[in-house]
């Protein structure tokens, strides 16, 4: 356990080094957040009755999305890992007395967390000062906040578990480009990064909510604003646990298979 903690710290501190990039990111995130708000506001005025979310809940959703963009974004791939698989350098990693899955998983979590840690505070701070219903609202009660925190952690683990599947698949395909493209776009749409899931057709909601993608950023952000509450919240968190366990199990299984039949490229 201690060695993984060391990996985590290493990666976390490494991620904290890119401060100038983070500031630029914060500016971008702000502009993005405002434009999204104006956009949804225009749709709200077009037909308030068709609006599937509370306006305040949506504003919180948008600001959370911007603040934790680096944490949940689909294209946060670590190119080093893909490169190491393609070039054969991964052999050194396999020699180490650690599980490659656990090591990369920790890395992935640490990287996402460190990037988000730099960006989230300024965004959240300023967003909370904006007038209602455009600003970041308070959570919908203490249990919503507790649920939000639990759900955030699970979401982060799940996103990392999902990226691990993509990394593991690179062992089979060597050129991972195709899978990356499909995975990125699928995830982008189905996790609600393009438009929040409640805005998709009602008929599709039932299925979408069951997919692992809905358990990523969709769950915590909507729990925060009270869009998912009560029993539904417990159910959503349960689903998050389920998918995290499943994806980790599949990833581990892939790791076992890979280890048995890996052919390292190059000399």
């Amino acid at each position: 356990m201690k060695k993984y903690w060391a990996f985590f710290r290493m990666r976390f501190i490494n991620g904290l080094q890119y401060r100038a990039a983070a500031w630029a990111g914060v500016v971008t995130q702000f502009v993005w957040g405002f434009m999204e708000l104006f956009l949804f506001d225009a749709f709200y005025r077009a037909d308030p009755s068709a609006f599937p979310m509370d306006q305040q809940a949506l504003a919180s959703y948008i600001w959370l999305q911007q603040a934790f963009f680096a944490m949940f974004t689909s294209w946060q791939w670590e190119n080093e890992l893909f490169d190491s698989i393609a070039s054969g350098n991964v052999a050194y990693e396999l020699c180490r007395p650690v599980s490659i899955y656990n090591m990369w998983f920790t890395r992935s979590v640490a990287r996402r967390l460190s990037r988000a840690a730099l960006r989230c505070l300024p965004v959240l701070l300023v967003a909370s000062l904006l007038p209602t219903p455009y600003g970041m609202g308070l959570p919908d009660g203490p249990e919503a906040f507790a649920g939000f925190l639990i759900s955030m952690v699970l979401g982060l683990l799940l996103v990392s578990a999902f990226s691990m599947l993509v990394y593991m698949s690179a062992f089979y395909t060597i050129s991972s480009q195709g899978i990356r493209i499909v995975a990125t776009n699928l995830m982008d749409f189905l996790c609600g990064a393009i438009i929040p899931l409640p805005f998709l057709p009602d008929a599709a909601q039932g299925i979408l909510a069951l997919l692992p993608f809905a358990s990523m950023n969709n769950a915590p952000f909507r729990i925060y604003g009270g869009d998912i509450g009560g029993m539904e919240m417990a159910y959503t968190i349960g689903l998050q646990v389920f998918w995290t366990v499943v994806l980790v199990a599949v990833g581990k299984w892939m790791e076992q298979r890979v280890k048995q039949k890996i052919v390292v490229q190059g000399g």
């Binding site: 990039a21 630029a24 990111g25 500016v27 971008t28 502009v31 993005w32 434009m35 104006f38 956009l39 506001d41 225009a42 749709f43 005025r45 077009a46 037909d47 068709a50 599937p52 050129s175 480009q177 195709g178 493209i181 499909v182 990125t184 776009n185 982008d188 749409f189 393009i194 438009i195 805005f199 998709l200 057709p201």
Partner: protein, 258 residues
């Protein structure tokens, strides 16, 4: 021009050496903007109109923005990736060659993988043009072409401006993405829906609205001044300050070492 053609062929040939990679990247480009399209589609499934604009009218805006951004990206990619060109000393090589600097930077990179996005823009045009309720005539079609070309010039100018900044910072500035990627992202809807302040910024600071919004209003018949159709020409003037800034940056450029 002949020289440019030669470069184009070279880029095409080198890309065709890695066919799978080329098509996968093009497919990726297609999928990314297809996601954006799906977003628009589902929003209109729910709301049917926004600020008085219909679905196919918004698609027209989306196609104009997407195609002009993509054209700028295909042909002016050299400026978009200018930071790396400075960082690896490539620009110093360019400086000593007896050809125009702008021309050489343009020739350096032609990003044909972006054609995936362009294809999508074309498909959307094919759908939106007959369906958006515009009575097309020669002058209006000319207007639409001007919108796309004007947009290409504006985005290309932004790339040049960005390259100009690189002379000072020696590395890319991420927040410039707000003006390029951000405009591409939010230009999918008519710019007027974001409210008055945004429209003023998009008219006077960076003239997106001159090629995307005002001519569009004339096309769909919300405004009757035919002069609106030729505003994209005005937006081309944006390239002048951008180019001057680039020249100014060039004068202050001190190489990056060995």
């Amino acid at each position: 021009m002949k020289l440019y053609w030669k470069h184009l062929q070279m880029h095409l040939q080198s890309m065709m050496q890695y066919k799978t990679s080329f098509f996968l990247t093009a497919l990726g480009q297609f999928l990314v903007s297809f996601n954006v399209f799906l977003g628009i589609y589902f929003m209109f499934q729910r709301f049917h109109q926004v600020a008085g604009f219909t679905y196919s009218q918004c698609l027209l805006c989306f196609a104009v923005t997407l195609s002009s951004f993509t054209l700028a990206e295909v042909f002016f990619r050299g400026f978009d990736t200018f930071a790396s060109c400075i960082a690896n000393g490539e620009f110093d090589r360019i400086l000593v060659r007896p050809r125009g600097l702008v021309f050489q930077v343009i020739c350096k990179k032609v990003e044909l993988t972006r054609l995936g996005k362009l294809l999508q823009a074309l498909v959307i045009f094919c759908y939106a043009v007959p369906n958006c309720g515009v009575e097309w005539n020669g002058i209006k079609i000319l207007g639409l072409v001007l919108m796309v070309l004007g947009g290409t010039v504006v985005f290309a100018s932004l790339f040049v401006l960005y390259a100009g900044i690189c002379f000072f910072t020696l590395e890319g500035l991420e927040f410039m993405n707000v003006f390029t990627d951000g405009a591409k992202e939010f230009g999918k809807y008519p710019l007027g829906i974001y409210g008055k302040h945004i429209l003023v910024i998009c008219t006077f600071l960076v003239p997106y609205a001159l090629f995307q919004y005002y001519p569009f209003l004339y096309l769909i018949g919300q405004r009757s001044e035919a002069g609106f159709l030729f505003l994209p020409l005005l937006s081309c003037l944006f390239s002048i300050p951008c180019y001057l800034f680039w020249r100014w940056g060039l004068r202050h450029y001190q190489s990056t070492g060995s």
